[in-house]
Amino acid sequence: MIPEIGYIRPRNLREALEALGENRETIRVIAGGTDIIPGFHINSRRFRDIRTLVDISGLPDLTFVDLENDGLHIGGAVTFTDIVKNPIIREEYPLLAQAAFRVGSVQIRNRATIAGNFVNNAPCADSVPPLLVYDAVIKIQSTRSEKTLPLEDFLLKPYKTQLQPDEIVSEIVLPPLKKEYRGEFYKLGRRRSVAISRITLAVLVKLQDRTIEDIRIASGAVTPIGRRFRELEDLAKGETAEVDFLKELSVKLGEEILKITGLRWSSAYKLPVVQQMFYLLLRRVCNR
């Protein structure tokens, strides 16, 4: 059941922020609604206090994709379908396009939004690992302030972010990426389509001859929230991208994840899958 609620459809971002600022405790943003409406049905504690929804779906202020000097700016309410279809994202940030294509079904992708994905911050949010390896920065606005911060810092715990009740994530900025970077994205679900991720991995590598000049590694679903692996990245920089080292790095990634999550019933299959798949991704990236 959807509880008795009020509904506001602002004409622009300013009106949306004003509405949020007035009723901080009981008002919430709705965009695609693909998390919030199922959440209402199960009487989720996260949504229980909501009395009014502010609908930002399709708001022109939040549905742009613009290439600028400092990178690609993606409006917070851009849908996954629009991300999949966007030629710049497909060309310049392909891991994000690939992850977006694996989200839910056509119907979900037609409504669900990119900011909604990481504001909800489910462990399995598919867009998060690619955004993290692209060093995504997000812009957060309210009537009282405007700030930018790395997505990595914004995500705190499962279903918990730094977002304050009167704030909206208005855009995501992906910094320009040198052409030499090669990347791979991997998603494992329990079925091929319309699957909740069990494991997601994203990796970006920049090679100088056979030397790993830069590497960025992120996981999702298999860790409590999407995250980077800075220590492993530092360890890999300067190393030669040959089979033995890539194997060692893959084994270490599995160990690192196990350290974070502890032993679980699923570790017996997830650990070798993570290690094997990460090794395959690295091989693909380094041999291209």
């Binding site: 959807i2 609620i5 509904y7 119907q107 389509s193």
Partner: protein, 157 residues
């Protein structure tokens, strides 16, 4: 709860409604407008039985508040038939035995309809992806995929 006024176009006809804001598009289509071809299955966006086409895109009417559809153009299964003539998709679903119990069919038709509008020459994989969010427990999907292929071929002749 304060009711709100909304208007949208369903199957080419203007609908003006005064509704409670917690009503879903699915509820308004079925209960207020009597368009019961749109089915209620899982309620959480997994089965696709409630699929309608909203502004050209297949969406779950169970996950959209009716108020969010204000100003939109919506097509339901009732809108596929033109002047008493079944849509090519509907004809081919019948001819290929793609309908058994029928509960998923309105959603299947609208997902396929949205696909063919955007991509009149779909490959088999495109069709599979387009209906991946529509569950069918009877047919095994094969006949449905054949029906969509046949309808696409007819369109292209």
């Amino acid at each position: 709860m304060k009711k709100i006024n909304i208007r949208f176009k369903v199957n080419g006809r203007q609908a003006d409604l005064n509704i409670a804001p917690n009503k879903r598009l699915l509820d308004v289509l079925r209960d207020d407008l009597g368009l019961t071809g749109t089915k209620e299955g899982c309620d959480i966006g997994e089965c696709g039985a409630c699929t309608v086409v909203l502004n050209g895109r297949a969406v779950h009417s169970c996950l959209i508040l009716a108020a969010q559809a204000n100003g939109a153009e919506i097509i339901t299964v009732e809108g596929l038939t033109q002047n008493g003539e079944l849509h090519p998709l509907q004809k081919n679903f019948l001819e290929h035995g793609a309908v058994q119990c029928g509960f998923c069919i309105p959603g299947m038709l609208l997902s396929s309809y949205a696909l063919l509008k955007e991509n009149p020459h779909p490959r088999e994989d495109d069709i599979k992806e387009a209906i991946a969010g529509n569950l069918c427990r009877c047919t095994g999907y094969k006949q449905i995929i054949q029906a969509v292929e046949a309808a696409a071929n007819e369109n292209n002749e």
